[in-house]
């Protein structure tokens, strides 16, 4: 138990561990002291001077971000002195700020906008010509608008302290200071630089990919989990018009803290793919017929009866719930092998300043989940090959969420029943008796299990196209029809069913997983290089 210190902030008594800063102590009781340069993941230079608070007995206002609490201290964050200071500092920020909010991507989520609106002067007194830095391409995905910069140096510190590749610096001094790279060197070849756009409190660093794409206030934020690798970074999907517009990290100190890698950040376009399967299709005697789900499933069950042993292809991109439902169906149909394929990178891409975080070599989000339900990995590191035993199988073939992109039209030609559950059409599904449209993880609820066996939930960020349904709903219904029991009606049901059938998932409830994730009983500890 750490030694506790009790102080008073704005009249509220608060006890925090010794060594806590005033800013963090205030945060713990829900008081946000405005700040720019402070970021919990990096050192505090105390240079923005916004977080100055009044401490009784101190001769000068104290920076809340570096002043540690003392017993009996009396702090005022909203006193006349504190407000006067913030009003003064905010005016200084606006002296050379271009006020180009109408064309600034940060508008609507900008700390300068918010703070000035809340506490700034009503009218500016600046009459002098403004300093102009203009726009600079920092390489990678980053554009720099120097005139909007508040010189908090969060970006410089992220690159030097967290990514530990000192590509950014403050050039010059005084009010000619500006953030820059080494001339034309830029940020190319760094793999975490997207984070500097996130931590920029204003619109100085913006994403080229997101440039002028959407206004912040039009975006819906949905908590999700990155599908780029087995790390399972917590993210928010920002959607508008049923399209993912961008991906932002979601704070989870146990997994990715405040950061995500650039691969994960930009690996969302597949969720917006337009050429989706939209209706269940039954192919019979060379003719394809779209039909209602109920009809399709009844026809499928009729054909499955006595169709022989099962071989199933699963996917490490599918949720725990999908995989569990597939496992139950395969068992109900008499059992059989489940295999999956997953892409692997040669090397990890660690974030040096945060040793438990890396872009992992396993480029799928749920290989752990697939392994736990008894699937075995086949194929090579490009997620191709390895399907010979399934391709010519003469019993039941079920393909879940593997687009068979490397397979020819003769895949499954000998199968007595070939069910293809996917998001889009594939030449490999030419012989499929049933092509069933499923939703992506962005279109429904579910969970993944990351490489340290942490189960993490994601929420529904967008609507599935047409009649596409979550795979667990389809597979769960089929399994219940075949093997008895209740069909799951929600992802929570499907997760509970998983817990009953796969021991590794036993004892953890959907609520336990919550928004922060829950470790399975036999977790493995993971560190980077």
């Amino acid at each position: 138990m750490p030694e506790m210190v009790t102080l008073t902030i704005d009249g509220h008594e608060v006890s925090v561990p010794k060594g806590t800063t005033i800013l963090e102590a205030a945060k713990s009781i829900g008081t946000e002291v405005p700040h720019y340069c402070y970021h919990p993941g990096m050192s505090s230079p105390a240079m923005c001077r916004l977080c100055l608070v009044e401490v009784e007995g101190a001769p000068k206002p104290m920076p809340g971000c570096v002043t540690t609490v003392m017993d009996g201290q009396v702090v005022h964050t909203q006193s006349e002195q504190a407000l006067k200071n913030r009003r003064g500092v905010l005016e200084f920020y606006l002296v050379n700020h271009p006020l180009d909010c109408p064309i600034c991507d940060m508008s609507g989520e900008c700390n300068l906008q918010d703070y000035v609106h809340a506490e700034g002067r009503e009218h500016g007194r600046g009459r002098e010509p403004k300093r102009i830095f203009g726009r600079d391409d920092f390489g990678g995905d980053v554009l720099f608008y120097g005139d909007r910069c508040v010189m908090c140096t969060r970006c410089v510190r992220f690159m030097s302290e967290v990514e530990q590749d000192h590509r950014l610096t403050v050039v010059e001094r005084g009010n000619r200071s500006v953030i820059d790279t080494f001339y034309e060197e830029g940020l190319d070849g760094t793999y975490w630089h997207g984070n500097i756009v996130d931590i920029c409190p204003v619109g100085a660093l913006v994403s080229k990919e997101f440039l002028h794409k959407a206004r912040a206030w039009d975006l819906t934020h949905t908590p999700s989990v990155c599908t780029g690798c087995a790390q399972g970074c917590n993210i928010d999907l920002h959607t508008r018009d049923n399209l993912v517009q961008r991906v932002k990290p979601r704070e989870n100190l146990d997994v990715n803290a405040w950061w995500i890698c650039d691969y994960g950040r930009h690996g969302y376009e597949w969720m917006n793919r337009g050429d989706r399967l939209e209706a269940p299709v039954m192919r019979s005697a060379g003719a394809s017929q779209a039909m209602a789900w109920g009809d399709a499933l009844r026809a499928l069950l009729a054909k499955a009866d006595g169709a022989g042993p099962v071989k199933a292809i699963a996917s490490a991109k599918s949720s725990n719930e999908d995989l569990g439902a597939l496992k139950r169906l395969v068992d109900a149909l008499g059992g059989g092998d489940i295999v999956y394929r997953s892409a692997r990178a040669d090397d990890e891409v660690p974030l040096k300043g945060f040793p438990t975080l890396a872009r992992r070599t396993d480029l799928t989000p749920n290989a752990t989940g697939a392994d736990l339900v008894g699937a075995s990995r086949v194929g090579d590191d490009d997620a191709t090959g390895g399907l010979d035993a399934v391709s010519g199988h003469d019993g039941i073939v079920i393909v879940l969420n593997d687009d068979l992109s490397d397979q020819g039209e003769d895949f499954g030609a000998n199968a007595s029943l070939f069910v293809y559950m996917g998001t889009h059409a594939s030449a490999g599904a030419t012989h499929a008796d049933f092509v069933l449209p499923i939703s992506t993880h962005a279109e429904g609820e579910g969970s993944f299990t990351n490489l340290e066996r942490r189960v993490q939930r994601f929420a529904k960020a967008m609507d599935a196209p047409g009649m596409a349904r979550p795979a667990w709903l389809v597979l769960g219904a089929l399994a219940a029809e075949t093997g008895g029991g209740d069909a799951p009606r929600s992802a929570a049901d499907a997760f509970a069913a998983l817990g009953r059938s796969v021991s590794a998932f036993a004892g953890i409830t959907w609520e336990d997983v919550g928004t922060r994730g829950a470790l399975l009983n036999e977790s493995v500890s993971v560190t980077g290089d």
Partner: protein, 217 residues
């Protein structure tokens, strides 16, 4: 040196109450051209200077300069601490600190190039672009200003036929304004390369310039 038509306080009896030669005021009689290097940690022998002769394409840290850099490194607990002296050496050789020089210094000290750029641009003594053989820095801060430093600047600009910061056509002079040079009792103070010229008045400016040109250093 004795015919240099400028004044140092105490020298030549222009001001002050001392009878001293210019060598005695500057310490040239004591130091010589450069302080001798006796192999100690003093810093003598490795001190960077600003020279009229500049070789923008010359290699950095070759030969004698390599020895100087190694000596500098031996005096500090970290490699990074050698950054300012190393940039000074680069400027002594090449006359200014170019991006290429920053890159080479970064390599030599195992620092990132961006970091070196950040440090180099913080300090005014590193010329970020080429300057003339003689970099004329006229203090125009308060004490010199009260004594008419603005007219001294004008005199230099007139003689060299340049604007502030420009290099004269013959490549001899670049005139800039400087902040206080800590010679406020001897205004106007002008730093030209590594030397201070004190009590400078506008009428002496052409003489100083002509002397420097003749010196041809």
């Amino acid at each position: 040196m004795s015919d240099i038509p400028f004044k140092n306080p105490g020298w030549a009896g222009n001001t002050g109450e001392f009878e001293l030669s210019e060598e005695e005021v500057r310490g040239a009689d004591f130091v010589g051209d450069r302080p001798a290097d006796g192999g100690h940690a003093s810093g003598a022998g490795t001190m960077p200077y600003m020279l009229a002769h500049k070789e923008p394409e010359a290699p950095l840290f070759d030969g004698a300069y390599k020895d100087r850099l190694e000596k500098i490194l031996s005096r500090y607990p970290t490699k990074q601490a050698a950054l300012l002296p190393a940039l000074g050496l680069a400027q002594e050789i090449r006359g200014h600190v170019s991006p290429a020089s920053m890159d080479e210094v970064a390599d030599a000290l195992e620092l990132s190039s961006a970091y070196v750029r950040g440090v180099a641009t913080f300090y005014t003594m590193y010329n970020k672009r080429p300057v003339g053989r003689h970099l004329v820095q006229v203090c125009t801060n308060i004490s010199c200003n009260l004594a008419g430093a603005d007219e001294v600047v004008d005199a230099f600009l007139k003689y060299t036929d340049t604007e502030l910061g420009e290099t004269s056509e013959d490549g001899n002079f670049t005139v800039i304004e400087a902040e206080c040079l800590a010679a406020c009792g001897f205004p106007t103070c002008v730093q030209i390369n590594s030397r201070y010229f004190e009590n400078v008045t506008p009428t002496e400016v052409p003489k100083i310039c002509e002397h420097l040109k003749a010196e041809g250093e």
